[in-house]
Each structure stands twice: as structure tokens, then as C-alpha cells.
């Protein structure tokens, strides 16, 4: 039996339902008003979210897709920064929970017409929403928004700060495939400096008993990242045989080529996933990417598509799939706590 199937939850549904319901009730009392960062969540809280996501996923497998957790609740998705994956995932999660949902994508230009973020949120607040999901290019913006609304704000990625639901779905995927996070070694490769995904994953994996190593060109390793709990390495080949999961981060071609490394080709030579590196991985290791991928830059196309057999498996689409269940769990918990 492959390692990742060992600890799948096989409880009968009725029992699980009662258990999770009790857990949810107990848990929601202690939730922070907003879901802004993994940093301020406890291990217990993270595990509760993952358990609830598991419940949603199992129900879906049984054909039970629609729920009423957010019936009568107003959910506004505000995407200041373009996003396909995260936005669709949140929208689907919201609909599955029966929320009255709308999505807006304010253009930077409308904000520059003199309306500040504060003005805009105060106007939305007047409509009495229960939940706001916010994606913003500026670190800290969801927290600023949270200070102007009574709605629970869920951070869908802010600048280089955090992307909590991404880390939760990553943890969910690793747990699903490898059975647990405890003792597992996550290696994050690439642009750590500007990555909110890296930061949230460092917190999530460390809190859940795993360990994290950040690998990348020295120019893209921010000072003091060790203080958040991660180890730092610049030699990918040295660390690969020890990894249980390797997460490749998207390289922003426009931003990087000028200063942080000499060329994409050189980056790929040192930090790209290729067949040789794939062969050096543990057989049961996972290959992850938060997307969108630059094929042939971070990961060779065949590996990205999971066409190689008999070794480390690519779980990029599992990450996306699990995103919906995880976001349903987050929206349900924070929607109820309101």
C-alpha cells in the first residue's frame, strides 16, 4: 500500500458528522475575527480547519455538494489583483455553501480617482456584508480593510505577506498524500523574498510539526527568514534527497531578470525541476506548485504534467482541487463566527 493511502479517514459518515459538528461549535468561539494569517492560528485551529475540509471533501465524493452553512449570509469577494485560480476557488466555495455572493475587481484607476481603500470599504460595509474575501497587492491591506468592517475578512493573498488558504490547501494535500505533516520536510524553492505562499507555508508546516527549508538564489532569500522557523539552503541538489515535498514557486519573469539572477536559463539550471533532480527525490516525495506554472522554468513540462512514473508524484492539480474544500471550511468557520 502506498504511503499516502495509509491514514485516509475511513470513519463512517454519520459518526464523522457528529464529531465535526461538535468540533466546529467548540472551535468557532475562539476564532479571531478575521482570517488574515497563519501566524496567529494555533495548531489546533489549523487542524480543525483541515478536518472540516476533509469532511467537505468526503461529502462531495458521496455526491453531497451543496450545503447551507452560509445561507442568508452576504459574501463579497474583492480581488484588487487579478487571479483566476484563487478567485474561482473562493467563488465555488461560496456557492457551495449557499452564500449570497458577489465578486468585484476594483481597478486601480477607480481608487486613484480619489476614493481611498477606506472610503470604498466603508461604502461596502454600509451594505452589511458578513464575509469579505480580499486579494490585494499590498502587504497588510486585508488587515487595514478588516479595521473598517464588521465583516469577517478572509485574506486571499496580500502582497508578500501571507496567503493563508493556499498554505492550508498545501498542508491538506501533503497530509492527504503522506498521512501526516508531523516530521515531514517541505522544501520551498525559488523567490522566497516576494512570496506570500512561502511565508504562510513556513508557519503552517512548522506549526503542524513539519520542517521547512527555503532554497533559492541568495538574492531571493530575505534576511531573517530563519526567525520564522525555516532553514535556508542555496544548493537545491544537496537538499532534494531529504525532501518529502518540494514546492516550486512561480518566477515573475518581468520582475526578476533585471537584478536577482542573470537569466531565466541560469535560474532553471540551478533551481528548476528536471529529470535528473526528479530521480534524486524520494520515491514517495510530492512535487507541488501554487501556480501558475512557467513550464520549463520552474518545472519541466513532463514532470509538471505528472507523466513520469515510478517515483515522486506531481500533485499540482490535487492542490487546486483541495482548494475548494479548504476554502469552504474557512468560509464556513469564519462565516459562522460572525
Amino acid at each position: 500500500m502506498p504511503a499516502h493511502k495509509k491514514k485516509l479517514n475511513t470513519n463512517p459518515p454519520s459518526q464523522a458528522e457528529g464529531f465535526f459538528l461538535a468540533l466546529k461549535e467548540k472551535f468557532t468561539g475562539k476564532l479571531p475575527k478575521d482570517c488574515l494569517e497563519i501566524k496567529s492560528l494555533s495548531r489546533n485551529q489549523i487542524e480543525t480547519i483541515l478536518d472540516l475540509a476533509q469532511e467537505f471533501k468526503e461529502k462531495e465524493a458521496r455526491g453531497q455538494k451543496k450545503h447551507e452553512d452560509l445561507k442568508g449570509k452576504a459574501l463579497i469577494n474583492i480581488f484588487f489583483e487579478p487571479s483566476t485560480r484563487t478567485r474561482t476557488s473562493f467563488e465555488l466555495a461560496g456557492r457551495r455553501l449557499s452564500a449570497d455572493m458577489m465578486t468585484i475587481a476594483p481597478q486601480a484607476s477607480s481608487l486613484s480617482k480619489g476614493e481611498s481603500l477606506k472610503d470604498m470599504i466603508e461604502n461596502l460595509e454600509a451594505m452589511g456584508p458578513d464575509l469579505m474575501v480580499v486579494r490585494h497587492a499590498a502587504s497588510g491591506a486585508p488587515g487595514l480593510i478588516a479595521s473598517y468592517t464588521k465583516a469577517a475578512v478572509v485574506n486571499a493573498g496580500d502582497g508578500s505577506h501571507e496567503h493563508p488558504t493556499q498554505a492550508l490547501l498545501d498542508a491538506f494535500t501533503v497530509k492527504e498524500k503522506l498521512g501526516e505533516i508531523q516530521g515531514k520536510h517541505l522544501v520551498i524553492v525559488g523567490d522566497i523574498s516576494y512570496s506570500r505562499v512561502a511565508r504562510s507555508n513556513i508557519y503552517a508546516f512548522c506549526k503542524l510539526g513539519g520542517k521547512v527549508t527555503c532554497v533559492g538564489p541568495a538574492t531571493l532569500i530575505p534576511p531573517g527568514i530563519e526567525k520564522m522557523g525555516a532553514k535556508v539552503e542555496t544548493d537545491l541538489d544537496k537538499i532534494l534527497p531529504h525532501a518529502d515535498a518540494v514546492m516550486f514557486l512561480r518566477i515573475q519573469k518581468e520582475r526578476q531578470e533585471k537584478m536577482n539572477f542573470p537569466s531565466i536559463a541560469e535560474y532553471t539550471r540551478f533551481y528548476g525541476m528536471n529529470r535528473t533532480r526528479w530521480a534524486a527525490l524520494k520515491k514517495e516525495a510530492l512535487i507541488m506548485h501554487p501556480g501558475p506554472i512557467n513550464r520549463g522554468v520552474e518545472i519541466e513540462p513532463e514532470i509538471a504534467d505528472g507523466r513520469l512514473e515510478g517515483g515522486a508524484q506531481t500533485v499540482i492539480l490535487d492542490q487546486v482541487k483541495n482548494g475548494t474544500a479548504v476554502r469552504m471550511a474557512v468560509l464556513s468557520l469564519w462565516g459562522r463566527s460572525k
Partner: protein
């Protein structure tokens, strides 16, 4: 007009006096002081029993925002904030709108100050036209109109040749050159210190080196040009070492530190606190402690506020978009008195840093002391009165302080400018 200040604890580091004296003021000047003065007729008597009487404080670094940004501050409101903080002379930077880069603006500021300011206001002119760092501003004509130095504060003159020429040219007019030391290529205009806190918050940081490079450059230029160089708002321990070494070589360089760089670190930014957004950024604990040691050792010449008023709408935004800087005139003395309360320095040393030294840097012989014949610019404060910083009570038009809610000890009771009480709080 005669005024008698009785029973006060007079601290004047220039006169080397620290004790109980009565002070007589006549026609805007200090007339005399003795242990016990008997005067028959005076117009005003201040009983300063239990209070400290010092030369009025002098701030080498403020932003009064007029002309152009009157919604943040005006020369009048800025001078009121100064008076409430014990300052009798303040120097205002050139980054107004339009920029103070020509004599017309300088004349406007000095005229407006004469009409409306309740303390002495001395303008600084720009180094470059419109602070663009490209061409020299009308330095000579501004000198005629009354500027006391030149600075592109808020911007760094990145063109080294222009900086060199400006320093040479300013020397010809006896003007000091105030350096906003920030290598803009390296700092990215960052208002957050590069380090673990910036990394955690996902904010791009400006390293100490961005400041130190320019401090080193400008010291070299001061050696080359023999100009009077003053380093504004020094924030890094490396900069301090550079200034120390230069002073030991005999270079004409002075430096200032701000209360916020002494009493706060980059930890204050947590929660994306835009009131802690300032350039140069709040640094590490090691830097703050090194600056305090620089004060104890006497290598730091003066404490300046870098009073930078901003309206609330400019601060209630994403951290990276927030206006840089904080108000400081009304909290500076009480914050700095902590150094005395902690026994890091003596009160007379603090008064030297906040009055005698800046007067000396400005070349003002009749200020920074209470010696007979000096201008009657006086601060009188209760060193023991405790108060909580409540920004809504500020005289400044703006409320952007990271010290709101702090409990401080030491409160200004009277401020006297040219022999007149311009502020009293009894």
C-alpha cells in the same frame, strides 16, 4: 517690558550654571540673574518654583508644510506646536509646494513667519531646483533672503557631482549643507528597515547601508570642499561610526538624531502601523542603543524632531502607500527626558543637545544660552509632571504620532520668545 522668573532651577550649559536663580528679562533680552533678585517694578512675574528654566529649545529639522500643504500644517500651527513643546526656534525644510528653491518663496516664508508664527522660524533652502537633484537652486539669493542652510531633505541628491558643487557653492555663502543620506538606488524609497520584521510582514526594506553609503560620500565631499556638513536624522550605528571617525579627523561635520530613532525600533511597524512609517526607517534595537551611546559619548550633536505632519487620510492607507514621517514637536522634550530619568545623561547635557548645540550649528550667538545679553528665549517645564500623549490635544494640525498613549514625564509650563510668554499651561 520687564519680566521676572523667580525661584526656578536654571540649567544653562553654556553659562555652566545648574541651580536656583532668579532671572530678569528686559526688552526681549536676558538682563541678569542672581540667587535672589529684588526688583521693584516688573510687568510680569513667573513663579518657577519646582520648575526647570532653560534656554529655549531649538529644532534643526521640521516640516511646516506652508506653502502648499496647509491641510497638514501651517507656519502658524507648526509654531504653536513648537511652543507647546518648549521650542523657541525651529528650522523648516524646503519641501513645500512650491519648493523653497528661490528667494520669492524664502521671502514668503519669512514674512508669513513674522506675521503669524509665535516662535522664531528659520528656513532651509533647497539644494536643487524643485528637489529634482538635477540643477542647483538659487542658493545665493535665498541666502540673502534669510535661509540658514540648504537641503533637499526628503530626497537625497544622488548626483555626486551636483552635491559636490552645491557644497562648494554653499560654503561661499557660509551656509551649512544638510544631508538626507539615503542611497535611493538601494533603499527603494523604503520606509521599513530591512531585517526580520520586514521579512515577516512582507514589506521591502531599506538596509542601513543605504544611509551609510551617503554619509560616507558626503563626509568625503566635506573633506574635499571644506563645507559645513550636517547629517540629518541619522538612524544607523554604522553612520555614527563614520561621523565619529570624521570628527576625529577634524572634518566639519555635525549630526542629529530624532526621538523616534532613539525610542522605537522596526518592531513598531507590526500591524502595518503607518504612523511608524518614516524615512530613514525605524531600525533595529542595536541601532537605537548605539545612537543612545552616541548621545552619552557626545558624538551626537543634537536631537531634532523631523516633525513631519500628515493628514489622517494619508496615513489610513496600505503601509507601502502611506506618507512618511511623524509629528514630533510636542513630544520631543518629554521623550528625551527619559534619557535623564534613565541616568544616561545629565539634564544639562540634554539641554546642550536641544538648545546650545543647535544654536552653535546655526551660528546663533545670542541663542542657546541665558547669559546676560542673550535673546530671552526660554523654556520652563515641570520635570516631574506625568502626562499621557493624546494626539487629539496636539496644537499641530496633524495627529500622526507613534507615541499616542505613551505615558511621559516632564511637561512644558511656559515658553517665552523674545521676552514674551507665547505658551503657558498652568
Amino acid at each position: 517690558m520687564k519680566m521676572l522668573i523667580k525661584n526656578g532651577h536654571v540649567v544653562d550649559p553654556v553659562a555652566k550654571k545648574d541651580g536656583l536663580f532668579d532671572l530678569l528679562i528686559e526688552d526681549g533680552k536676558i538682563k541678569k540673574w542672581e540667587k535672589r533678585l529684588r526688583v521693584d517694578t516688573v510687568d510680569t512675574i513667573i513663579d518657577a518654583k519646582g520648575l526647570v528654566v532653560t534656554p529655549g529649545l531649538i529644532d534643526l529639522h521640521t516640516h511646516l508644510r506652508e506653502p502648499g500643504y496647509e491641510y497638514k500644517e501651517t507656519i502658524k500651527t507648526g509654531s504653536m506646536a513648537a511652543a507647546a513643546g518648549g521650542f523657541t526656534t525651529i528650522v523648516c525644510m524646503a519641501n513645500t509646494n512650491p519648493v523653497n528653491d528661490n528667494a520669492v518663496i524664502t521671502e514668503f516664508i519669512t514674512k508669513r513667519a513674522q506675521e503669524e508664527a509665535i516662535v522664531n522660524v528659520l528656513p532651509i533652502g533647497a539644494i536643487s531646483k524643485n528637489l529634482e537633484g538635477k540643477a542647483m537652486a538659487d542658493i545665493g539669493q535665498m541666502a540673502e533672503a534669510g535661509i540658514v542652510g540648504i537641503s533637499d531633505d526628503g530626497r537625497c541628491v544622488m548626483d555626486t557631482a551636483l552635491m559636490r558643487k552645491s557644497m562648494q557653492y554653499a560654503r561661499g555663502f557660509g551656509l551649512m549643507v544638510v544631508s538626507h543620506a539615503e542611497d535611493e538606488c538601494l533603499s527603494g524609497h523604503g520606509s521599513m528597515n530591512e531585517g526580520p520584521v520586514a521579512t515577516e510582514l512582507g514589506l521591502s526594506g531599506s538596509p542601513n547601508a543605504a544611509e551609510e553609503l551617503i554619509v560616507a560620500r558626503d563626509i568625503a565631499l566635506a573633506e574635499l570642499t571644506k563645507a559645513k556638513l550636517h547629517i540629518a536624522h541619522m538612524s544607523s550605528r554604522g553612520s555614527l561610526e563614520l561621523v565619529k571617525a570624521a570628527k576625529k579627523r577634524g572634518v566639519s561635520v555635525t549630526c542629529e538624531v530624532t526621538p523616534h530613532h532613539l525610542f522605537l525600533t522596526d518592531e513598531a511597524v507590526r500591524g502595518y502601523n503607518t504612523n511608524a512609517s518614516v524615512r530613514p526607517p525605524l531600525r533595529s534595537r542595536e541601532d537605537a542603543l548605539a545612537l543612545r551611546r552616541g548621545i552619552e559619548d557626545g558624538f551626537v550633536d543634537t536631537i531634532a524632531t523631523d516633525h513631519a505632519p500628515h493628514a489622517s487620510f494619508e496615513k489610513e492607507v496600505e503601509f507601502a502607500q502611506a506618507a512618511h514621517g511623524m509629528v514630533g514637536l510636542e513630544t520631543s522634550l518629554a521623550l528625551c527626558l527619559k534619557l535623564v530619568q534613565d541616568r544616561s545623561i545629565k539634564l544639562s547635557q540634554l539641554i546642550k543637545l536641544m538648545s546650545a548645540n543647535p544654536a552653535h550649528i546655526l551660528g546663533l550667538k545670542s541663542k542657546g544660552t541665558l547669559k546676560p545679553g542673550a535673546d530671552a528665549d526660554i523654556a520652563i517645564f515641570d520635570p516631574n509632571e506625568k502626562w499621557n500623549v493624546d494626539p487629539t490635544k496636539f496644537y499641530s494640525k496633524s495627529r500622526n504620532t507613534p507615541f499616542g498613549g505613551w505615558s511621559l514625564k516632564g511637561k512644558i509650563k511656559y515658553t517665552v520668545v523674545n521676552g514674551k510668554i507665547v505658551y503657558e499651561n498652568i
